[in-house]
Assembly symmetry: C2
Homo-oligomer: 245 residues x 2
DNA sequence: CGGCTGGTAACTGTTAACAATCCGCGCGCG
DNA sequence: CGCGCGCGGATTGTTAACAGTTACCAGCCG
């Protein structure tokens, strides 16, 4: 068998290379990343000409990308007045948290009966990572591990539609991770809650794990409802001081 | 036959309400409606040139509309190979049902404590409508009232983010209403379940209403899981015979 | 007779130019 | 001095033409 005769090399096709994508897809991915990473914070005005020059393409692909981002809820377009990065009010943030709770409870119910040794090990590793990062005060890195823990449950649920809906929602919320952390409060308590969820999952008790997950996600909700807007702002700024120092 | 009558034919307003919107918004709304009403059934190939001639606009707005529809999950675009109306497999349909259950349970939990006399009256009217349409065998009209019943709960939840996510999901599922009805089975039992949900809501027992709603939505799921693809197809065709006669 | 190859037509991706609308600003009027 | 009013620049909405890719088909070679 001629080992080099395989003309169609599948080995570099399975990973979508950015070079082969269409310009509108690249613009979409680029802007999405810029928004999700907060380099384009909520409220930023997005002008087509500026973006097209920055990316070196014409306005057509830019418009398509903006339209898709609008359909995803990441930007709002005001007809004939341009697009701005969408921002969530406190109320909308709370609403999103409620939906997220429902989705993650479903994820846990579906995932727990399917969990194998490798899934449990994955979750255990993430929990340990969270614990060490919480102990060392690396809040940003803690948040990353925390997000991965929750997303892992959604992935292990095996329900792709759920993953799609969840990721879209998380994409809208992730930019407010500082607000989330402020509302979360004590990280050690958060780690303990994750450990409890994982223990229930390991025991195969889907219902218990689901209830624990619901309570866990409800913690920031009740804090948000009991805080005024001023208190929230004050807490966020003091959080910023603590992190940047 | 007459594809060259493009310039003058569509210059008048087929849909007078949409005059103020941009062309891409009109194209988006038009295609969305065509897809949701099943005039463009799943699997239909959407060619930009044909659509632009049909709507009397150029390809730019059409492309923007297709991009937004793709972001909404209503069409899938294969790069350089055109767009097709997205279709749901049995598995994806079941997945969507699971997500829908989670969302509607949340809606019931939120809505019940907020229900006033007018909300209850609205739900009662819809239930009565469903009952009469089920009794007279008007299955299509029954489905409409049924959809409205469920959507009303979501609306009365007061959570706009939930409404947004729910409507997007329902938009993907509504085209398969025949499959839904086949899986639902006995309409009278369905009506009875709605009455029970409404009674619990009237009593202010949100938890009971939520559980009843979950069981109600799970009925088609368990039937779908217990059916093979062939049985489902057979049931759908026999359903078509029964409806069209 | 089947599979490969080359050409061709149709379609998508992209661009630049054109048209329409909005916004800020200064001017004139009351 | 305040307020409308239009005018000019900037920005979005739309179009037609161009470029590149894919799919299809006929004809040739094995």
């Amino acid at each position: 068998m001629a080992p080099e005769a395989t003309v169609q090399s599948n080995q570099n096709e399975d990973v979508p290379r950015l070079e082969n994508l269409t310009l509108s897809q690249r613009a979409h991915a680029f802007l999405r990343d810029e928004i999700l990473s907060n380099r384009l914070p909520p409220g930023t005005e997005l002008q087509e000409l500026a973006l097209s020059q920055q990316l070196g393409v014409s306005r057509g692909p830019i418009r398509e990308a903006l339209g898709r981002l609008a359909a995803e809820g990441l930007v709002t377009v005001r007809p004939r007045r341009g697009a701005v990065v969408h921002s969530l009010s406190s109320g909308e943030f709370l609403e999103a948290y409620q939906v997220r709770e429902a989705l993650e409870v479903l994820a846990v119910r579906l995932a727990v009966p399917l969990l194998g040794p490798e899934g449990l090990a994955q979750l255990q590793t993430l929990t340990d990572t969270m614990a060490s990062r919480a102990a060392s005060g690396h809040v940003t890195e803690f948040f990353e591990a925390n997000s991965l823990f929750h997303e892992t449950f959604v992935q292990l649920s095996g329900n792709e539609k759920l993953q799609e809906v969840y990721r879209r929602l998380i994409g809208q919320m992730r930019r407010y991770w500082r607000r989330s952390l402020v509302l979360r409060g004590d990280l050690r308590r958060s780690v303990a809650e994750h450990r409890e969820i994982l223990r229930a999952a390991r025991e195969g008790d889907a219902e218990k794990a689901a209830v624990l997950m619901a309570e866990h996600i409800r913690v920031p909700q009740v804090r948000l409802q009991s805080m005024t807007a001023d208190e929230l702002l004050e807490a966020e700024t003091s959080f910023d001081r603590k992190v940047t120092e």
